[in-house]
Amino acid sequence: MADSGSGDIAVIGNTDLTPSESENNIKNTMVEKGTNLLKRMEIGVAEAEKRTGKNAVNMQETYTVYLVETRAVDASSEGTTPVPDSLWRRYSEFELLKNYLLVTYPFLVVPPLPEKRAEFVWHKLSADNMDPDFVERRRVGLENFLLRVASHPVLSNDKIFYSFLTEENGWKESVFETGFQAKADSRLKALNATFRVKNADKRFADMKHYGDELQSVISQLLRVRARAADRLYGVYKVHGNYGRVFSEWSAIEKEMGDGLQSAGHHMDAYAASVDDILEEEEHYADQLKEYLFYADALRAVCRKHELTQFELEMAAQDLISKKQQQEELATGTLRTFSLKGMTSKLFGQETPEQRETKLKMLETQIEEGEELVKEKNTECEEFVKSAWVDIERFKEQKDHDLREALISYAIMQISMCKKGIQVWNNAKECFSKM
């Protein structure tokens, strides 16, 4: 990396790109990669509103609803932009959608929702869910979520997703009709269970490890960043005191008065500039947070693989033991310890009829067992195949998005430096007139 002097600025080109414009680049990439859904439809979360109503336990509550807008793509290309279709959704409905997707597509890295509660806050940011800044950032996050799902090759075709966007009433019921709740409970149990897998696919084990590391490092980064933001805020704001004192001082000076007064104004401007700077920094933090939560989704897929692998191994294990039993019964040799074997030794051999029945039962069980193993095997293979495809897709998306995020951070820093240079040059000139 060469140190660039002012001559290099022309080469760099558009450094005036704001972070939000850079974020649009991410969205545009999603649209370009283009699923069928996004080719047909524009999706957005346009507004947020406060509502009050009675909740499940008949108590008054205040909550926020978000306006989900959709518009047919070809309609706007005719020149006139028709009014979009829209409906209101609460955060809890977004959560329901996401849970449904998680359960229905366990082999996919499902996009995360923006955080439920504000975390990694610093003193100026409110941790209050009703705070307008938080609501606004959540609105952006929800829109992002919808676009992520809509741009996913598999998820974008889901009917429940489509009706989430288009059918306000009855949507919840249709979700529950899918019966995903039952699967949800068992999934939760499985995710939390501890079990040992003998032959997990190494790639998935590595991915899970990566997910752990990603989560840990991004958390650390967000924590440090929040503290630094707090400090920087303090530094800038204290400069506002210069403005105040210069103003008072200028009142008692004759020759120095004007220079001091105008320098003071620049100090005030400097102090005020930090608000915009840190708002853009929050934007960067939100981009990091998305991938913090994505890490969870990634780990969930790896866990699910372990589970399916485990079930396969269990089924295979069971089959082996049944086959062994069959062999023992058929040949009369006792190779493994079994209670049956022991009792028959103690209480005498079984009758030929009893043995026949047992053999027949075992045969059926073995048949079923073989079917099960075949099933599980297929399940496992298919899971590995489709999950790995999605994981590769996710990796590419992550690399692209995070690089864009770093770029937009650099752009933000550049903007901050330029503002600083301007303010202090102005101040210097005022001082020279003191």
Binding site: M1, I12, Y210, V238, V245, L406, Q413, W424, N425, M434
Partner: protein
């Protein structure tokens, strides 16, 4: 004639003899000689010697000294701090180098070693000799806030700079720079300095001043001229403002240092992250490197604030105290004059003696007032220059810091954009 002046003071009624001497203390005859010899100063001193106090007043009215810079004939530097260890104590001495063309100096170059105590002595002498002239403050004896050791390198350097500034202010001052005490300070060896120090009023005189001051304060000034009241109001306001600026600057330094502490943790986190990544490893390492460089630049900027702006502002906080003291001394002189005037009206007063004293006190008052007025103008000019350049330097340094950080980020951006374009090209193929 100066001898006569001193004698009269010794016999004045209400003033004890041991401190009477320094009311008009012109360092014996030396200052009178000074008036005749300083033709190169560029001030409007009348070189021809007049002997009455009245005519001396005229000579004290110096005007704008624009020619001062061009005709500067004495250059002083304070450097090379060194530890000096004896059985009883350890202290720092500084090298004081003088280059001059002035005739009252025996040679054109001098080099002596002085310690902080010596500077204190010089300041006290100048103040005693010229109670209503403004002496630039010395750095404080010890730093109150924080655990700063006396022999901490940064402390010594800051002090050295302040001592250098102090001495240069004295050298630039038309009256102070011509004093014998100053000359001896710059040229005498340790022995000669020590014996010179023993002469003249010392501790007692300082104590005497505050005793007299107390008496005068009790009485109060009746008819203070408007301009001195205005000065006092200015000093009050100025003092508050400069004190605020001092505090604000200290606060900024504190906050910046804490910001740097937090920033320091960012770079290693990005490096840690880059270890888990493949494609992203390079940009993440780039980020870490950028943050490290910005950290270094910001450290430098904080250092500038700490080492330059802060001490300068602090000096002017001390100046405010000096100004207040000077105004107070002037008030005392006036108060005593007024008391004398009233004494004249007392029934059994010795009118003859009192009238004599009164005339001298009147002269002294007028002299003190004029001295103060001229030095006030002078001080304001110096203050303006000092503070202007201190703030300009700070602004300059801030701009530099931002410019360097800007270059760092632009370079990073360029590298990322070029890489991205490279990848896109290969994708489309």
């Amino acid at each position: 004639m100066s001898g006569t002046v001193v004698d009269n003071n010794a016999s004045s009624l209400s003033i004890p003899t041991d401190i009477a001497g320094h009311m008009l203390d012109l360092d014996e005859d030396d200052d009178l000689e000074v008036f005749s010899k300083n033709t190169t100063q560029g001030s409007s001193f009348n070189p021809s010697m007049q002997t009455s106090p009245g005519s001396m007043i005229n000579q004290y009215k110096f005007e704008e000294e624009e020619e001062e810079i061009d005709t500067k004939d004495i250059f002083v530097t304070v450097d090379d701090p060194e530890s000096y260890v004896t059985a009883i104590e350890t202290y720092i001495t500084y090298r004081v180098v003088t280059k001059t063309t002035r005739s009252e100096f025996d040679s054109s170059e001098f080099e002596v070693r002085r310690r902080y105590q010596d500077f204190l002595w010089l300041k006290a002498r100048l103040e005693e000799a010229h109670p209503t002239l403004i002496v630039h403050p010395l750095p404080e004896k010890f730093v109150m806030k924080g655990m700063v050791e006396r022999f901490n390198e940064n402390f010594i350097e800051t002090r050295r700079k302040a001592l250098n500034r102090f001495l240069n202010r004295i050298a630039d001052h038309p009256i102070f720079s011509s004093t014998e005490d100053f000359r001896i300070f710059l040229t005498a060896d340790i022995g000669a300095l020590t014996s010179h120090k023993k002469q003249g009023p010392g501790f007692l005189s300082r104590m005497g001043e505050s005793v007299r001051g107390l008496a005068a304060t009790v009485r109060g000034v009746r008819n203070r001229p408007e301009e001195f009241t205005a000065m006092q109001e200015y000093v009050e306001a100025f003092g508050q403002n400069i004190s605020s600026l001092d505090k604000v600057t200290q606060r900024i330094v504190r906050e910046q240092k804490e910001y740097l502490e937090d920033l320091k943790e960012c770079a290693p986190t990005y490096t840690l992250w880059s270890n888990s990544e493949e494609e992203l490893a390079e940009p993440l390492r780039g980020m870490a490197s950028c943050l490290e460089r910005c950290f270094t630049e910001t450290e430098e900027q904080v250092k500038e604030l700490n080492d330059n702006l802060n001490p300068t502002l602090h000096e002017y906080v001390l100046c405010t105290e000096t100004l207040k003291t000077v105004l107070r001394r002037r008030d005392i002189i006036q108060a005593e004059f007024e008391a004398k005037t009233e004494a004249l009206l007392a029934k059994h007063a010795d009118r003859e003696t009192i009238r004599e004293d009164l005339s001298k006190m009147e002269d002294r008052l007028e002299w003190a007032n004029n001295a103060l007025k001229s030095d006030w103008t002078r001080w304001k000019k110096v203050m303006r220059t000092d503070l202007q350049s201190a703030f300009m330097d700070t602004a300059e340094k801030n701009v530099n810091c931002y410019e360097k950080c800007l270059a760092v980020w632009e370079s990073f951006l360029l590298s990322q954009r070029t890489d991205a374009e490279g990848t896109q090209v290969s994708d489309s193929s």
